[in-house]
Protein backbone atom coordinates (compact mmCIF):
# COMPACT_ATOMS: atom_id res chain seq x y z
CA UNK A 1 0.00 0.00 0.00
CA UNK A 2 1.48 3.30 -1.05
CA UNK A 3 0.17 6.65 0.13
CA UNK A 4 1.78 8.30 -2.87
CA UNK A 5 -0.21 6.22 -5.30
CA UNK A 6 -3.42 6.80 -3.35
CA UNK A 7 -2.68 10.51 -3.46
CA UNK A 8 -1.94 10.29 -7.18
CA UNK A 9 -5.32 8.69 -7.88
CA UNK A 10 -7.11 11.19 -5.63
CA UNK A 11 -5.33 14.13 -7.23
CA UNK A 12 -6.23 12.87 -10.67
CA UNK A 13 -9.91 12.42 -9.80
CA UNK A 14 -10.05 15.93 -8.33
CA UNK A 15 -8.34 17.40 -11.39
CA UNK A 16 -10.88 15.66 -13.60
CA UNK A 17 -13.70 17.17 -11.58
CA UNK A 18 -12.12 20.59 -11.74
CA UNK A 19 -11.85 20.41 -15.49
CA UNK A 20 -15.50 19.69 -15.99
CA UNK A 21 -17.25 22.98 -15.33
CA UNK A 22 -20.72 21.49 -15.48
CA UNK A 23 -19.91 18.82 -12.96
CA UNK A 24 -18.23 21.36 -10.74
CA UNK A 25 -21.26 23.65 -10.81
CA UNK A 26 -23.57 20.70 -10.30
CA UNK A 27 -21.52 19.61 -7.31
CA UNK A 28 -21.59 22.95 -5.58
CA UNK A 29 -24.97 24.29 -6.66
CA UNK A 30 -26.90 21.09 -6.09
CA UNK A 31 -26.49 21.18 -2.30
CA UNK A 32 -27.57 24.81 -2.18
CA UNK A 33 -30.53 24.33 -4.49
CA UNK A 34 -31.61 21.14 -2.77
CA UNK A 35 -31.48 22.83 0.59
CA UNK A 36 -33.61 25.73 -0.65
CA UNK A 37 -36.06 23.76 -2.76
CA UNK A 38 -36.73 21.10 -0.21
CA UNK A 39 -36.83 23.62 2.58
CA UNK A 40 -40.57 23.15 2.87
CA UNK A 41 -42.51 21.05 5.19
CA UNK A 42 -43.65 17.69 4.00
CA UNK A 43 -45.95 15.46 5.90
CA UNK A 44 -47.74 12.19 5.54
CA UNK A 45 -49.92 10.25 7.93
CA UNK A 46 -47.74 9.26 10.77
CA UNK A 47 -48.29 5.85 12.28
CA UNK A 48 -46.51 3.66 14.76
CA UNK A 49 -44.62 6.23 16.80
CA UNK A 50 -43.15 4.40 19.77
CA UNK A 51 -44.63 5.87 22.93
CA UNK A 52 -43.99 4.69 26.46
CA UNK A 53 -46.88 5.01 28.87
CA UNK A 54 -46.02 5.12 32.56
CA UNK A 55 -49.07 5.17 34.78
CA UNK A 56 -48.40 5.99 38.43
CA UNK A 57 -52.04 6.63 39.18
CA UNK A 58 -53.66 3.54 37.69
CA UNK A 59 -57.37 4.30 37.90
CA UNK A 60 -60.30 3.72 35.57
CA UNK A 61 -59.76 7.17 34.20
CA UNK A 62 -56.11 6.71 33.37
CA UNK A 63 -56.90 3.32 31.87
CA UNK A 64 -59.45 4.95 29.62
CA UNK A 65 -56.84 7.50 28.62
CA UNK A 66 -54.44 4.68 27.86
CA UNK A 67 -57.06 2.91 25.73
CA UNK A 68 -57.79 6.12 23.88
CA UNK A 69 -54.12 6.53 23.07
CA UNK A 70 -53.85 2.91 22.09
CA UNK A 71 -56.73 3.34 19.66
CA UNK A 72 -54.76 6.04 17.86
CA UNK A 73 -52.93 4.42 14.96
CA UNK A 74 -50.26 7.10 15.18
CA UNK A 75 -48.90 5.36 18.25
CA UNK A 76 -47.43 2.05 19.17
CA UNK A 77 -48.04 2.32 22.88
CA UNK A 78 -46.13 0.32 25.44
CA UNK A 79 -47.21 0.41 29.05
CA UNK A 80 -44.19 0.36 31.28
CA UNK A 81 -43.87 -0.17 35.03
CA UNK A 82 -43.48 2.96 37.11
CA UNK A 83 -40.17 4.27 38.29
CA UNK A 84 -38.32 4.47 34.99
CA UNK A 85 -36.40 7.51 33.97
CA UNK A 86 -38.12 9.03 30.91
CA UNK A 87 -34.87 10.33 29.46
CA UNK A 88 -33.34 6.90 29.73
CA UNK A 89 -36.30 5.44 27.90
CA UNK A 90 -35.93 7.95 25.12
CA UNK A 91 -32.21 7.66 24.74
CA UNK A 92 -31.66 3.98 25.26
CA UNK A 93 -34.88 2.07 24.78
CA UNK A 94 -35.69 3.77 21.48
CA UNK A 95 -38.96 5.45 22.52
CA UNK A 96 -39.84 8.70 20.82
CA UNK A 97 -42.04 9.98 23.58
CA UNK A 98 -42.78 9.12 27.21
CA UNK A 99 -46.15 9.92 28.77
CA UNK A 100 -46.09 9.82 32.55
CA UNK A 101 -49.27 10.08 34.63
CA UNK A 102 -48.34 11.12 38.20
CA UNK A 103 -50.39 9.65 41.05
CA UNK A 104 -53.32 11.82 42.23
CA UNK A 105 -53.93 12.71 38.61
CA UNK A 106 -57.47 11.35 38.77
CA UNK A 107 -58.41 13.05 42.02
CA UNK A 108 -57.06 16.38 40.86
CA UNK A 109 -58.82 15.98 37.55
CA UNK A 110 -62.21 15.46 39.20
CA UNK A 111 -61.52 18.01 41.92
CA UNK A 112 -61.27 20.66 39.30
CA UNK A 113 -64.59 19.55 37.86
CA UNK A 114 -66.24 19.56 41.27
CA UNK A 115 -64.96 22.92 42.41
CA UNK A 116 -65.33 24.76 39.16
CA UNK A 117 -62.95 27.09 37.53
CA UNK A 118 -62.14 28.83 40.79
CA UNK A 119 -59.64 26.25 41.83
CA UNK A 120 -56.11 26.00 40.70
CA UNK A 121 -56.09 22.27 41.27
CA UNK A 122 -55.48 20.59 37.93
CA UNK A 123 -54.49 17.17 36.67
CA UNK A 124 -50.98 17.14 35.38
CA UNK A 125 -49.30 14.89 32.81
CA UNK A 126 -45.61 14.81 32.04
CA UNK A 127 -44.74 14.43 28.40
CA UNK A 128 -41.11 13.89 27.52
CA UNK A 129 -40.39 14.28 23.85
CA UNK A 130 -37.65 13.85 21.37
CA UNK A 131 -37.97 17.17 19.61
CA UNK A 132 -35.29 16.40 17.08
CA UNK A 133 -38.03 15.25 14.77
CA UNK A 134 -40.59 18.04 14.95
CA UNK A 135 -43.22 16.17 12.97
CA UNK A 136 -43.14 13.28 15.40
CA UNK A 137 -43.25 15.63 18.35
CA UNK A 138 -46.28 17.44 16.94
CA UNK A 139 -48.05 14.17 16.28
CA UNK A 140 -47.54 13.00 19.84
CA UNK A 141 -48.78 16.26 21.30
CA UNK A 142 -51.86 16.30 19.12
CA UNK A 143 -52.63 12.64 19.81
CA UNK A 144 -52.39 13.18 23.55
CA UNK A 145 -54.65 16.23 23.37
CA UNK A 146 -57.23 14.22 21.41
CA UNK A 147 -57.11 11.37 23.89
CA UNK A 148 -57.66 13.81 26.76
CA UNK A 149 -60.61 15.42 24.97
CA UNK A 150 -62.20 12.01 24.64
CA UNK A 151 -62.10 11.52 28.41
CA UNK A 152 -65.17 13.69 28.54
CA UNK A 153 -66.08 15.80 31.54
CA UNK A 154 -63.22 16.84 33.70
CA UNK A 155 -60.88 19.64 34.28
CA UNK A 156 -58.38 20.92 31.81
CA UNK A 157 -55.18 18.99 32.01
CA UNK A 158 -51.83 20.60 32.36
CA UNK A 159 -49.54 18.79 29.95
CA UNK A 160 -46.00 19.50 30.98
CA UNK A 161 -43.91 19.09 27.90
CA UNK A 162 -40.31 18.40 28.48
CA UNK A 163 -38.17 18.48 25.44
CA UNK A 164 -35.23 16.23 25.88
CA UNK A 165 -32.89 18.36 23.87
CA UNK A 166 -33.86 21.58 25.45
CA UNK A 167 -34.65 23.59 22.36
CA UNK A 168 -37.50 23.65 19.98
CA UNK A 169 -36.48 22.15 16.70
CA UNK A 170 -38.11 23.14 13.47
CA UNK A 171 -38.54 20.93 10.47
CA UNK A 172 -35.83 22.75 8.58
CA UNK A 173 -33.33 22.10 11.36
CA UNK A 174 -33.67 18.37 11.03
CA UNK A 175 -33.85 18.71 7.27
CA UNK A 176 -30.35 20.07 6.80
CA UNK A 177 -28.67 16.82 7.89
CA UNK A 178 -30.84 14.92 5.44
CA UNK A 179 -29.92 17.22 2.55
CA UNK A 180 -26.28 16.89 3.48
CA UNK A 181 -26.51 13.12 3.34
CA UNK A 182 -28.51 13.14 0.12
CA UNK A 183 -26.19 15.36 -1.91
CA UNK A 184 -23.11 13.57 -0.66
CA UNK A 185 -24.58 10.17 -1.48
CA UNK A 186 -25.71 11.33 -4.88
CA UNK A 187 -22.51 13.01 -5.98
CA UNK A 188 -20.15 10.37 -4.61
CA UNK A 189 -22.10 7.43 -6.00
CA UNK A 190 -22.94 8.90 -9.37
CA UNK A 191 -19.56 10.47 -10.11
CA UNK A 192 -17.59 7.43 -8.97
CA UNK A 193 -19.80 5.25 -11.12
CA UNK A 194 -19.43 7.49 -14.18
CA UNK A 195 -15.74 7.99 -13.71
CA UNK A 196 -14.93 4.27 -13.45
CA UNK A 197 -17.19 3.32 -16.34
CA UNK A 198 -15.48 5.98 -18.40
CA UNK A 199 -12.06 4.61 -17.43
CA UNK A 200 -13.15 1.22 -18.71
CA UNK A 201 -14.58 2.59 -21.93
CA UNK A 202 -11.47 4.66 -22.63
CA UNK A 203 -9.02 1.93 -21.68
CA UNK A 204 -7.31 3.93 -18.95
CA UNK A 205 -8.56 1.36 -16.47
CA UNK A 206 -6.43 -1.29 -18.18
CA UNK A 207 -3.43 1.04 -17.97
CA UNK A 208 -3.94 1.61 -14.27
CA UNK A 209 -4.51 -2.11 -13.77
CA UNK A 210 -1.12 -3.04 -15.26
CA UNK A 211 0.60 -0.25 -13.31
CA UNK A 212 1.79 -0.59 -9.69
CA UNK A 213 -1.57 0.77 -8.44
CA UNK A 214 -3.33 -1.80 -6.23
CA UNK A 215 -7.07 -2.27 -6.17
CA UNK A 216 -7.24 -0.92 -2.63
CA UNK A 217 -5.18 2.11 -3.62
CA UNK A 218 -7.48 2.77 -6.55
CA UNK A 219 -10.58 2.67 -4.35
CA UNK A 220 -8.91 4.69 -1.59
CA UNK A 221 -7.92 7.32 -4.12
CA UNK A 222 -11.56 7.75 -5.04
CA UNK A 223 -12.50 7.72 -1.36
CA UNK A 224 -10.07 10.52 -0.55
CA UNK A 225 -11.22 12.63 -3.51
CA UNK A 226 -14.91 12.26 -2.78
CA UNK A 227 -14.36 12.59 0.95
CA UNK A 228 -12.94 16.04 0.21
CA UNK A 229 -15.83 16.82 -2.11
CA UNK A 230 -18.30 15.69 0.57
CA UNK A 231 -16.75 18.11 3.05
CA UNK A 232 -17.13 21.03 0.69
CA UNK A 233 -20.71 20.08 -0.07
CA UNK A 234 -21.54 19.80 3.61
CA UNK A 235 -20.15 23.26 4.12
CA UNK A 236 -22.39 24.59 1.36
CA UNK A 237 -25.47 22.97 2.88
CA UNK A 238 -24.65 24.25 6.35
CA UNK A 239 -23.90 27.76 5.08
CA UNK A 240 -27.12 27.98 3.08
CA UNK A 241 -29.02 26.47 5.98
CA UNK A 242 -27.55 28.99 8.37
CA UNK A 243 -27.80 32.05 6.11
CA UNK A 244 -31.15 31.41 4.43
CA UNK A 245 -33.04 29.46 7.04
CA UNK A 246 -31.14 30.24 10.20
CA UNK A 247 -30.95 26.58 11.05
CA UNK A 248 -29.86 25.51 14.41
CA UNK A 249 -26.85 23.30 14.93
CA UNK A 250 -26.68 21.88 18.43
CA UNK A 251 -23.96 19.37 18.01
CA UNK A 252 -20.38 19.21 17.00
CA UNK A 253 -19.70 20.09 13.39
CA UNK A 254 -16.54 18.01 13.49
CA UNK A 255 -18.52 14.87 14.32
CA UNK A 256 -21.01 15.75 11.63
CA UNK A 257 -18.25 16.04 9.04
CA UNK A 258 -16.73 12.74 10.10
CA UNK A 259 -20.10 11.05 9.70
CA UNK A 260 -20.58 12.66 6.29
CA UNK A 261 -17.16 11.37 5.22
CA UNK A 262 -18.10 7.91 6.42
CA UNK A 263 -21.19 8.09 4.27
CA UNK A 264 -19.14 9.32 1.30
CA UNK A 265 -16.85 6.31 1.63
CA UNK A 266 -19.78 3.93 1.48
CA UNK A 267 -21.18 5.81 -1.49
CA UNK A 268 -17.87 5.54 -3.37
CA UNK A 269 -18.02 1.80 -2.68
CA UNK A 270 -21.57 1.67 -4.02
CA UNK A 271 -20.55 3.60 -7.14
CA UNK A 272 -17.66 1.21 -7.74
CA UNK A 273 -20.01 -1.72 -7.28
CA UNK A 274 -22.54 -0.37 -9.75
CA UNK A 275 -19.75 0.36 -12.25
CA UNK A 276 -19.35 -3.39 -12.63
CA UNK A 277 -22.88 -3.61 -13.96
CA UNK A 278 -22.48 -0.99 -16.65
CA UNK A 279 -20.41 -1.26 -19.81
CA UNK A 280 -21.11 2.21 -21.14
CA UNK A 281 -21.82 5.61 -19.73
CA UNK A 282 -25.42 5.54 -20.91
CA UNK A 283 -25.96 2.24 -19.14
CA UNK A 284 -24.58 3.85 -16.01
CA UNK A 285 -27.20 6.58 -16.16
CA UNK A 286 -29.88 3.93 -15.65
CA UNK A 287 -28.67 3.51 -12.08
CA UNK A 288 -29.15 7.14 -11.09
CA UNK A 289 -32.88 6.90 -10.26
CA UNK A 290 -32.12 3.70 -8.43
CA UNK A 291 -29.95 5.68 -6.06
CA UNK A 292 -32.04 8.82 -5.87
CA UNK A 293 -35.65 7.69 -5.63
CA UNK A 294 -35.47 5.32 -2.64
CA UNK A 295 -33.22 7.77 -0.83
CA UNK A 296 -35.69 10.61 -1.14
CA UNK A 297 -38.83 8.58 -0.51
CA UNK A 298 -37.84 6.00 2.06
CA UNK A 299 -35.05 7.44 4.17
CA UNK A 300 -37.15 9.48 6.53
CA UNK A 301 -35.84 12.60 4.89
CA UNK A 302 -39.12 14.20 3.75
CA UNK A 303 -41.37 12.54 6.27
CA UNK A 304 -40.62 10.32 9.22
CA UNK A 305 -40.31 6.62 8.58
CA UNK A 306 -43.46 6.26 10.69
CA UNK A 307 -45.32 8.05 7.89
CA UNK A 308 -44.34 5.37 5.39
CA UNK A 309 -46.92 2.61 4.87
CA UNK A 310 -45.94 -0.29 7.16
CA UNK A 311 -45.66 -2.60 4.19
CA UNK A 312 -42.88 -0.50 2.69
CA UNK A 313 -41.22 0.33 5.96
CA UNK A 314 -38.74 -2.58 5.94
CA UNK A 315 -37.39 -1.20 2.67
CA UNK A 316 -36.42 1.96 4.48
CA UNK A 317 -33.87 -0.03 6.38
CA UNK A 318 -32.23 -1.07 3.14
CA UNK A 319 -31.64 2.54 2.17
CA UNK A 320 -28.26 3.82 3.37
CA UNK A 321 -29.55 7.37 3.70
CA UNK A 322 -31.90 6.16 6.45
CA UNK A 323 -28.90 5.47 8.67
CA UNK A 324 -27.11 8.62 7.61
CA UNK A 325 -30.21 10.64 8.51
CA UNK A 326 -30.50 9.05 11.93
CA UNK A 327 -26.83 9.54 12.63
CA UNK A 328 -26.52 13.08 11.32
CA UNK A 329 -29.71 14.20 13.06
CA UNK A 330 -28.50 12.70 16.31
CA UNK A 331 -25.15 14.44 15.95
CA UNK A 332 -26.28 17.79 14.57
CA UNK A 333 -29.69 18.33 16.12
CA UNK A 334 -29.53 16.39 19.34
CA UNK A 335 -25.87 17.13 19.93
CA UNK A 336 -25.07 13.50 20.65
CA UNK A 337 -21.84 11.70 19.96
CA UNK A 338 -22.08 9.24 17.05
CA UNK A 339 -21.98 6.15 19.28
CA UNK A 340 -25.04 7.38 21.14
CA UNK A 341 -26.99 6.64 17.95
CA UNK A 342 -25.89 3.01 17.53
CA UNK A 343 -28.43 2.10 14.86
CA UNK A 344 -27.37 4.96 12.60
CA UNK A 345 -23.67 4.48 13.20
CA UNK A 346 -23.87 0.71 12.90
CA UNK A 347 -25.91 0.97 9.73
CA UNK A 348 -23.42 3.33 8.13
CA UNK A 349 -20.41 1.26 9.17
CA UNK A 350 -22.11 -1.82 7.80
CA UNK A 351 -22.78 0.03 4.55
CA UNK A 352 -19.14 1.07 4.28
CA UNK A 353 -17.70 -2.37 5.04
CA UNK A 354 -20.14 -4.13 2.74
CA UNK A 355 -19.77 -1.88 -0.28
CA UNK A 356 -16.01 -1.42 -0.05
CA UNK A 357 -15.40 -5.14 0.37
CA UNK A 358 -17.75 -6.00 -2.48
CA UNK A 359 -16.29 -3.23 -4.62
CA UNK A 360 -12.76 -4.52 -4.27
CA UNK A 361 -13.87 -8.06 -5.06
CA UNK A 362 -15.72 -6.86 -8.11
CA UNK A 363 -12.78 -4.78 -9.34
CA UNK A 364 -10.64 -7.90 -9.23
CA UNK A 365 -13.21 -9.84 -11.23
CA UNK A 366 -13.62 -6.97 -13.65
CA UNK A 367 -9.97 -6.72 -14.43
CA UNK A 368 -9.69 -10.49 -14.76
CA UNK A 369 -12.68 -10.66 -17.01
CA UNK A 370 -11.84 -7.41 -18.76
CA UNK A 371 -10.79 -9.22 -21.85
Amino acid sequence: MSLRRIAAVAERVLRQLRHDRRVLVFMLVLPAVAMILFGYSFSGDITGVRVAFVDEDDTDLTQTLRDNLRADSAFRLAELPVGQDPEQLLLEAGYQAVIRIPDKFTSLYYAHFAMGVATSAQGRIDLTLDESDPQIAATVQKGLADALMDLGEGGPVDVQVKDLYGVEVRFIDSFAPAIMGLVVALISTVLTLLSIVREKVDGTFARVWVSPVRRAEFILGYVVAFGAVALVQSLVVLSVGKLVFGILINGSIAWAFLCVILFAIGSVGLGTLLSALAQTESQAVVFFPLVIVPSVLLSGMMWPIQAIPPLLRPLSYLVPLTYSNRLLRAVMVKGLAPWQEPVGLGGLLGFVVLTIAAASLILRQRARGAE
Partner: protein, 255 residues
Protein backbone atom coordinates in the same frame (compact mmCIF):
# COMPACT_ATOMS: atom_id res chain seq x y z
CA UNK B 1 18.15 -5.34 -15.66
CA UNK B 2 17.48 -8.32 -17.82
CA UNK B 3 20.25 -10.80 -18.18
CA UNK B 4 21.18 -11.12 -21.85
CA UNK B 5 20.39 -14.80 -22.17
CA UNK B 6 16.91 -14.42 -20.77
CA UNK B 7 13.91 -13.71 -22.99
CA UNK B 8 12.03 -10.55 -22.18
CA UNK B 9 8.83 -11.91 -23.70
CA UNK B 10 8.41 -15.62 -23.81
CA UNK B 11 5.48 -17.93 -24.27
CA UNK B 12 5.36 -21.64 -24.76
CA UNK B 13 2.31 -23.02 -26.54
CA UNK B 14 0.01 -20.42 -25.06
CA UNK B 15 -3.72 -20.51 -25.76
CA UNK B 16 -6.49 -18.11 -24.89
CA UNK B 17 -10.08 -19.11 -25.53
CA UNK B 18 -13.29 -17.14 -25.23
CA UNK B 19 -15.91 -19.82 -24.86
CA UNK B 20 -15.16 -22.24 -27.67
CA UNK B 21 -13.37 -19.58 -29.71
CA UNK B 22 -9.57 -19.69 -29.76
CA UNK B 23 -8.34 -16.10 -29.97
CA UNK B 24 -4.74 -17.20 -29.40
CA UNK B 25 -4.06 -20.78 -30.34
CA UNK B 26 -0.86 -22.51 -29.27
CA UNK B 27 1.53 -19.61 -29.77
CA UNK B 28 5.21 -19.87 -28.81
CA UNK B 29 7.43 -16.82 -28.88
CA UNK B 30 10.79 -15.72 -27.50
CA UNK B 31 11.95 -12.14 -27.67
CA UNK B 32 15.44 -11.43 -26.32
CA UNK B 33 16.43 -8.14 -24.74
CA UNK B 34 16.96 -5.28 -27.13
CA UNK B 35 14.84 -6.72 -29.90
CA UNK B 36 11.96 -5.06 -31.71
CA UNK B 37 9.42 -7.73 -32.47
CA UNK B 38 6.43 -7.01 -34.69
CA UNK B 39 3.12 -8.84 -34.64
CA UNK B 40 1.35 -8.54 -37.95
CA UNK B 41 -1.74 -10.20 -39.25
CA UNK B 42 -5.30 -9.53 -40.32
CA UNK B 43 -7.84 -7.98 -38.03
CA UNK B 44 -9.03 -10.49 -35.44
CA UNK B 45 -5.84 -12.54 -35.71
CA UNK B 46 -5.24 -12.32 -31.95
CA UNK B 47 -2.48 -9.70 -31.75
CA UNK B 48 -4.19 -7.63 -29.07
CA UNK B 49 -5.11 -10.73 -27.13
CA UNK B 50 -1.49 -11.93 -27.13
CA UNK B 51 -0.25 -8.54 -25.94
CA UNK B 52 -2.84 -8.51 -23.16
CA UNK B 53 -1.64 -11.93 -22.04
CA UNK B 54 1.87 -10.52 -21.66
CA UNK B 55 0.55 -7.53 -19.69
CA UNK B 56 -1.34 -9.75 -17.30
CA UNK B 57 -4.67 -8.26 -18.34
CA UNK B 58 -5.85 -11.72 -19.22
CA UNK B 59 -4.80 -15.16 -18.05
CA UNK B 60 -3.88 -17.81 -20.59
CA UNK B 61 -6.27 -20.74 -20.84
CA UNK B 62 -3.33 -23.09 -21.49
CA UNK B 63 0.38 -22.45 -21.33
CA UNK B 64 2.06 -19.47 -19.79
CA UNK B 65 3.15 -16.03 -20.90
CA UNK B 66 6.30 -14.76 -19.20
CA UNK B 67 7.39 -11.16 -19.04
CA UNK B 68 10.96 -10.42 -17.94
CA UNK B 69 11.11 -13.95 -16.61
CA UNK B 70 7.92 -13.69 -14.56
CA UNK B 71 4.69 -15.56 -15.15
CA UNK B 72 1.80 -13.29 -16.06
CA UNK B 73 -0.56 -12.45 -14.55
CA UNK B 74 0.36 -14.54 -11.47
CA UNK B 75 3.67 -12.86 -10.84
CA UNK B 76 2.88 -9.48 -12.32
CA UNK B 77 3.66 -7.53 -9.16
CA UNK B 78 7.32 -8.38 -9.63
CA UNK B 79 7.51 -6.61 -12.98
CA UNK B 80 4.70 -4.08 -12.79
CA UNK B 81 6.92 -1.00 -12.96
CA UNK B 82 9.38 -2.44 -15.48
CA UNK B 83 7.12 -2.48 -18.51
CA UNK B 84 5.04 0.06 -20.35
CA UNK B 85 1.77 -0.75 -22.06
CA UNK B 86 -0.02 1.18 -24.74
CA UNK B 87 -3.52 -0.19 -25.37
CA UNK B 88 -4.99 -0.23 -28.86
CA UNK B 89 -7.64 2.36 -28.00
CA UNK B 90 -6.30 5.85 -27.35
CA UNK B 91 -6.35 5.29 -23.65
CA UNK B 92 -5.85 8.68 -22.01
CA UNK B 93 -7.96 10.72 -19.62
CA UNK B 94 -9.96 12.85 -22.03
CA UNK B 95 -10.89 15.34 -19.35
CA UNK B 96 -7.31 15.96 -18.25
CA UNK B 97 -4.74 18.07 -19.98
CA UNK B 98 -1.75 16.54 -21.74
CA UNK B 99 0.51 17.48 -18.83
CA UNK B 100 -1.89 16.14 -16.22
CA UNK B 101 -2.15 12.82 -18.00
CA UNK B 102 1.61 12.44 -17.92
CA UNK B 103 1.76 13.66 -14.33
CA UNK B 104 -0.67 10.96 -13.24
CA UNK B 105 1.09 8.13 -15.05
CA UNK B 106 4.42 9.36 -13.73
CA UNK B 107 3.11 9.47 -10.18
CA UNK B 108 1.65 6.00 -10.17
CA UNK B 109 4.99 4.66 -11.39
CA UNK B 110 6.63 6.30 -8.41
CA UNK B 111 8.46 9.06 -10.30
CA UNK B 112 9.11 12.28 -8.41
CA UNK B 113 7.78 15.57 -9.77
CA UNK B 114 11.17 16.71 -10.96
CA UNK B 115 11.77 13.62 -13.04
CA UNK B 116 8.22 13.76 -14.35
CA UNK B 117 8.74 17.36 -15.43
CA UNK B 118 12.01 16.52 -17.18
CA UNK B 119 10.61 13.45 -18.91
CA UNK B 120 7.44 15.32 -19.89
CA UNK B 121 9.48 17.95 -21.72
CA UNK B 122 11.62 15.31 -23.38
CA UNK B 123 8.84 13.07 -24.49
CA UNK B 124 6.47 15.79 -25.61
CA UNK B 125 9.08 17.36 -27.84
CA UNK B 126 9.72 13.92 -29.30
CA UNK B 127 5.98 13.51 -29.92
CA UNK B 128 5.73 17.03 -31.34
CA UNK B 129 3.33 17.96 -28.57
CA UNK B 130 5.66 20.38 -26.79
CA UNK B 131 3.23 23.28 -27.06
CA UNK B 132 0.19 21.25 -25.97
CA UNK B 133 0.97 20.63 -22.30
CA UNK B 134 -2.07 22.55 -21.15
CA UNK B 135 -4.48 21.41 -23.81
CA UNK B 136 -7.21 19.01 -22.76
CA UNK B 137 -6.86 15.57 -24.30
CA UNK B 138 -10.39 15.58 -25.70
CA UNK B 139 -9.56 18.57 -27.86
CA UNK B 140 -6.49 16.92 -29.39
CA UNK B 141 -6.68 15.50 -32.89
CA UNK B 142 -6.81 11.73 -33.25
CA UNK B 143 -3.13 11.46 -34.08
CA UNK B 144 -2.16 13.81 -31.27
CA UNK B 145 -4.09 11.76 -28.77
CA UNK B 146 -2.42 8.65 -30.12
CA UNK B 147 0.97 10.23 -29.49
CA UNK B 148 -0.05 11.24 -25.98
CA UNK B 149 -1.11 7.65 -25.35
CA UNK B 150 2.31 6.45 -26.49
CA UNK B 151 4.00 9.11 -24.37
CA UNK B 152 2.18 7.77 -21.30
CA UNK B 153 3.64 4.31 -21.94
CA UNK B 154 7.18 5.59 -22.47
CA UNK B 155 7.30 8.15 -19.67
CA UNK B 156 8.75 5.98 -16.92
CA UNK B 157 11.47 4.55 -19.19
CA UNK B 158 10.54 0.90 -18.81
CA UNK B 159 12.75 -2.02 -19.87
CA UNK B 160 9.99 -3.68 -21.84
CA UNK B 161 7.35 -2.08 -24.02
CA UNK B 162 4.09 -3.59 -25.21
CA UNK B 163 2.67 -1.33 -27.87
CA UNK B 164 -0.61 -2.18 -29.53
CA UNK B 165 -0.61 -0.41 -32.91
CA UNK B 166 1.47 2.54 -31.76
CA UNK B 167 1.71 4.20 -35.15
CA UNK B 168 -1.81 3.86 -36.46
CA UNK B 169 -3.22 7.13 -37.74
CA UNK B 170 0.14 8.88 -37.94
CA UNK B 171 1.47 10.56 -41.04
CA UNK B 172 4.48 8.94 -42.74
CA UNK B 173 6.96 11.55 -41.53
CA UNK B 174 5.93 11.15 -37.94
CA UNK B 175 5.88 7.39 -38.28
CA UNK B 176 9.43 7.43 -39.55
CA UNK B 177 10.43 9.53 -36.61
CA UNK B 178 8.77 7.14 -34.19
CA UNK B 179 10.66 4.28 -35.69
CA UNK B 180 13.91 6.14 -35.20
CA UNK B 181 12.98 6.48 -31.57
CA UNK B 182 12.08 2.80 -31.28
CA UNK B 183 15.45 1.90 -32.72
CA UNK B 184 17.17 4.23 -30.28
CA UNK B 185 15.32 2.58 -27.41
CA UNK B 186 16.29 -0.83 -28.69
CA UNK B 187 19.94 0.19 -28.92
CA UNK B 188 19.66 1.27 -25.31
CA UNK B 189 18.72 -2.31 -24.41
CA UNK B 190 14.95 -1.91 -24.26
CA UNK B 191 12.73 -4.55 -25.74
CA UNK B 192 9.64 -3.79 -27.77
CA UNK B 193 6.75 -6.04 -28.72
CA UNK B 194 4.39 -4.18 -31.01
CA UNK B 195 1.53 -4.92 -33.32
CA UNK B 196 0.98 -3.17 -36.60
CA UNK B 197 -1.20 -3.12 -39.67
CA UNK B 198 1.39 -1.34 -41.77
CA UNK B 199 3.36 -4.00 -43.52
CA UNK B 200 6.07 -1.57 -44.43
CA UNK B 201 6.71 -1.25 -40.74
CA UNK B 202 7.30 -4.96 -40.50
CA UNK B 203 10.50 -4.31 -42.43
CA UNK B 204 11.77 -2.18 -39.61
CA UNK B 205 11.33 -4.85 -36.96
CA UNK B 206 14.17 -7.12 -36.03
CA UNK B 207 11.78 -10.04 -36.29
CA UNK B 208 8.19 -10.47 -37.32
CA UNK B 209 5.53 -12.90 -36.24
CA UNK B 210 2.77 -13.35 -38.77
CA UNK B 211 -0.50 -14.22 -37.05
CA UNK B 212 -3.67 -15.60 -38.48
CA UNK B 213 -6.69 -16.99 -36.64
CA UNK B 214 -4.78 -17.08 -33.37
CA UNK B 215 -1.75 -18.93 -34.73
CA UNK B 216 1.71 -17.99 -35.88
CA UNK B 217 1.84 -18.95 -39.54
CA UNK B 218 5.35 -17.62 -40.07
CA UNK B 219 8.06 -16.07 -37.97
CA UNK B 220 11.48 -14.66 -38.72
CA UNK B 221 13.42 -11.65 -39.87
CA UNK B 222 11.85 -9.72 -42.75
CA UNK B 223 14.42 -11.30 -45.09
CA UNK B 224 13.53 -14.78 -43.90
CA UNK B 225 9.84 -14.16 -44.43
CA UNK B 226 10.56 -12.84 -47.88
CA UNK B 227 12.43 -15.95 -48.90
CA UNK B 228 9.76 -18.17 -47.36
CA UNK B 229 7.19 -16.38 -49.45
CA UNK B 230 9.43 -16.65 -52.52
CA UNK B 231 9.79 -20.38 -52.15
CA UNK B 232 6.08 -20.79 -51.62
CA UNK B 233 5.10 -18.62 -54.55
CA UNK B 234 7.84 -19.90 -56.81
CA UNK B 235 8.96 -16.34 -57.62
CA UNK B 236 10.69 -13.44 -55.92
CA UNK B 237 8.41 -11.48 -53.59
CA UNK B 238 10.11 -8.16 -52.84
CA UNK B 239 7.10 -6.33 -51.45
CA UNK B 240 6.12 -6.99 -47.81
CA UNK B 241 2.42 -6.74 -48.64
CA UNK B 242 2.86 -9.53 -51.14
CA UNK B 243 4.82 -11.57 -48.62
CA UNK B 244 1.91 -11.22 -46.28
CA UNK B 245 -0.64 -12.17 -48.94
CA UNK B 246 1.32 -15.17 -50.14
CA UNK B 247 1.91 -16.52 -46.66
CA UNK B 248 -1.65 -16.02 -45.40
CA UNK B 249 -3.16 -17.45 -48.58
CA UNK B 250 -0.99 -20.55 -48.50
CA UNK B 251 -1.78 -21.03 -44.84
CA UNK B 252 -5.50 -20.87 -45.55
CA UNK B 253 -5.06 -23.40 -48.33
CA UNK B 254 -3.24 -25.70 -45.93
CA UNK B 255 -5.88 -25.68 -43.22
Amino acid sequence: MTSPCESVFSARDVTKTFGAFRAVDGVSIDVPAGEIYGLVGPSGAGKTTLIRLFCGLAAATHGEARLLGHAMPGDRRAVESRFGYMPQEKAVYRDLSVGENLLFFGQIYGMDRQRIARRTTEILSLMRLGDRVRQRADSLSGGERQRLSLACALLHEPDALLLDEPTIGLDPALRAQFWDHFHALSKGGRTILLSTHYLLEAERCRRVGLMQAGRFIAEGTPAELRSAAASRAGRAVPDMEDVFLVLTASSEGAS
